[in-house]
Symmetry: C2
Subunit: 413 residues, 2 copies
């Protein structure tokens, strides 16, 4: 049983060094006062503070701290968010990160992680972690795979060794990783897929979700994943079946698998409102600003994507005026900060000219400063978005940012 | 004219976040009180605080801050000490770094650095910088080179373009870089070399040194470099000629070019005491602990080497109990810090098991944490050495560390 004071202390520690709005802090303190007596380690609480249309401003409370939503989770595939230290993640205000079950299971392996204190102890990160189930990676990354009703047999791309992961194994692995939020083991189908294939996959995903629920680890929240491809009838069927089982939160999977943006957005707007109002809603693997703005409008609360980190390492930076390639010749002599409106360590300390030089020279500091900026930009974007929802002006927020990051060709009429 | 208070403030800023000994701080304050009135921007002051045999404990004062000697300078080849941020360099207590003239001249080029505020402004580093002259690199790295009495023509290894650097050019380039300490342009000969070749090279190096002295930039200290290969008569000749010209400090070059350790140590012990007592003595390119211990014993004050940074990126770490390869299987489940006696960020926060995993996975954080540790270890080693000299126990210090890092095979008698 965590005491109110423990939680309050954790909350203050979370805010030290971050630049989150005073709004967040005030809400958190009120919330803790409210929840402290009923708050048990391992359970998860979800409190909606404000709504603006279908958009929601909420707080997820876990034993390891709180998560202000809408929230973006940086991806820490192998027990590290690439190029960042754990202190830097705290400093930019990341309240939760994502760990990849499939990758961690293969390297360093469960024996190492269990002996070194679970994923939190292993990587020295004391805030919440969400782990995916490994389902997506088993299907997309393994060299060889054989699906059975019990799960998937596959070969490790590292050493060719044979492995088997199904719902029971996925829950077992996530239990050892010790994440705060686990995900059900699902089949994520490619695009395009026939209605027949998509339907079979929904049936399998439901069966696996039931098994996962059965094997849920004590003290670990579990989110159910909804599939169904681009077929609305199947999305509805999958949603009903997953809701029927009952989870601590609900995730929409199987989007951003190659489909056109229009189809993705249709599924987002269709599937979002089908999810229960009083539980967190997580749109998996989405990090494009336009997609996230639509998704928040459709009522989603949580996002994760490698976009900010991966783009950073390839020299693409996100700014208040859109995407920027740091390689551009015009930056060669540029003394100014990357984004004059950004308060990150990179923008406060280094010039565009220096960043360009570091990137052209393939220096490690280039990867670091770029990643730092992109992740800060994402966190800051979500801070501003949360405030906009609180203040009932999400529409204006969306209208401001949508054209900055919309890549759809403009058709002149 | 810097005021006493400016200097004092700079001194305090330098110490914020570092773990340097109170001894250093006290000495600095006394020194500033003493020197503040006569201290002019661009000059360099050298004050010997304590001696222990030939070993010296001194302070170099520059307009950008002070350098406690004996001092180790991390190498920032391309305007970044690989894998480190400038704040991290300050935090580990680095008081001066080295920049490579040859590399910076080729990339990003002088136009960029001059427009972005010199090397200090470009990389946002406000403490002292020493630049080498590019001589060593022109000879060791260029694809094609032609030596004339005026300098060296060479091809850029980046794009094959033709360039010319001689003493006048080297001073011009270092003036634009704006380093606090510049080096003369010398010829560093390979090992082995004939007496005849070595002698010709000493003559050329002296001619070039004269020219450099003539072109010395106002407000920039200039150190003369002594050559002579492994020949004591030529070392003596070169030393006399370079001293005759007169510089702000003296450097011994041309060691660690492939010769056996015994020969190197003989030259170190021979050449060190030939240098004037009242000026800084810099042994170029040396970073092996055994070599540095001998060199400090011989009266050298300054060192630079890529050893800590380069080894870090290849998984070799320096500890209180010797060299460690982080790849070792025995670290797989090891919860302990890399070095229990180390106070660096890495050792305070992460386990051997985690460091091993990061390195095996080629994660950027591995390069960062390893580099941070090695550079901290070097800085800490020098802090302890300075204190040992102050307290008249350098011999005991050397006797403790020599066997920890001596790789000479032990001959049983």
């Amino acid at each position: 049983m965590s005491s109110f004071f423990d939680l309050l202390e954790k909350s203050f520690l979370n805010y030290r060094g971050s630049t989150q709005s005073l709004y967040d802090l005030t809400y958190n303190m009120r919330l803790f006062k409210h929840n402290s007596d009923s708050f048990v380690k391992g359970t998860m609480d979800f409190n909606i503070i404000a709504t603006d249309g279908n958009a929601r401003r909420a707080i997820i409370s876990t034993a390891r701290g709180i998560i202000n939503t809408p929230s973006f989770m940086p991806v820490g595939t192998l027990g590290t968010v690439k190029a960042m230290s754990q202190d830097e993640l705290r400093d930019i205000g990341a309240e939760i990160i994502l760990g990849n079950t499939y990758h961690l299971y293969l390297r360093p392996g469960l024996d190492v992680i269990s002996q070194l204190g679970g994923l939190h102890g292993f990587m020295n990160w004391d805030r919440p972690i969400l782990t995916d189930s490994g389902g997506f990676q088993v299907f997309s990354l393994s060299a060889f795979r054989k699906i059975t009703p019990d799960g998937v047999q596959f070969k490790s791309p590292i050493d060719g060794s044979l492995h088997f992961i199904g719902p029971a194994e996925a829950m077992h692995i996530q239990g050892i990783l010790g994440s705060d939020i686990a995900m059900t083991f699902d089949e994520c189908i490619p695009y395009p897929a026939t209605h027949d294939y998509a339907e079979k996959s929904v049936i399998l995903t439901t069966e696996w979700a039931k098994k996962c629920r059965e094997f849920q680890n004590p003290g670990q929240a579990l989110f159910g994943i909804i599939q169904g491809g681009m077929y609305k009838d199947l999305r509805k069927k999958s949603t009903e079946e997953i809701l029927e089982i009952g989870f601590d939160g609900y995730a929409v999977g199987g989007v951003s698998v190659g489909e056109p943006k229009e189809e993705m957005h249709e599924i987002i707007y269709f599937n979002g409102p089908l999810l229960p109002f009083e539980k967190p809603r997580y749109l998996m693997g989405i990090g494009d600003f336009v997609d996230m703005l639509n998704a928040v409008e459709a009522g989603f609360d949580m996002f994760d994507c490698i976009m900010p980190t991966s783009n950073a390492r390839h020299g693409t930076l996100f700014t208040s005026f859109g995407r920027v390639s740091i390689k551009k010749t015009e930056f060669k002599y540029d003394k100014g900060p990357l984004d004059p409106e950004c308060g990150c360590y990179t923008c406060r300390n280094y010039s565009r000219g220096y960043l360009r030089h570091l990137f052209q020279s393939r220096e490690i500091l280039a990867m670091r400063l770029n990643t730092m900026h992109n992740l800060y930009f994402y966190q800051d974007f979500f801070r501003k978005m949360r405030q906009a929802i609180e203040e009932g002006r999400f529409k204006a927020f969306k209208d401001h940012w949508y054209p900055v990051y919309d890549r759809t060709p403009v058709t002149e009429e």
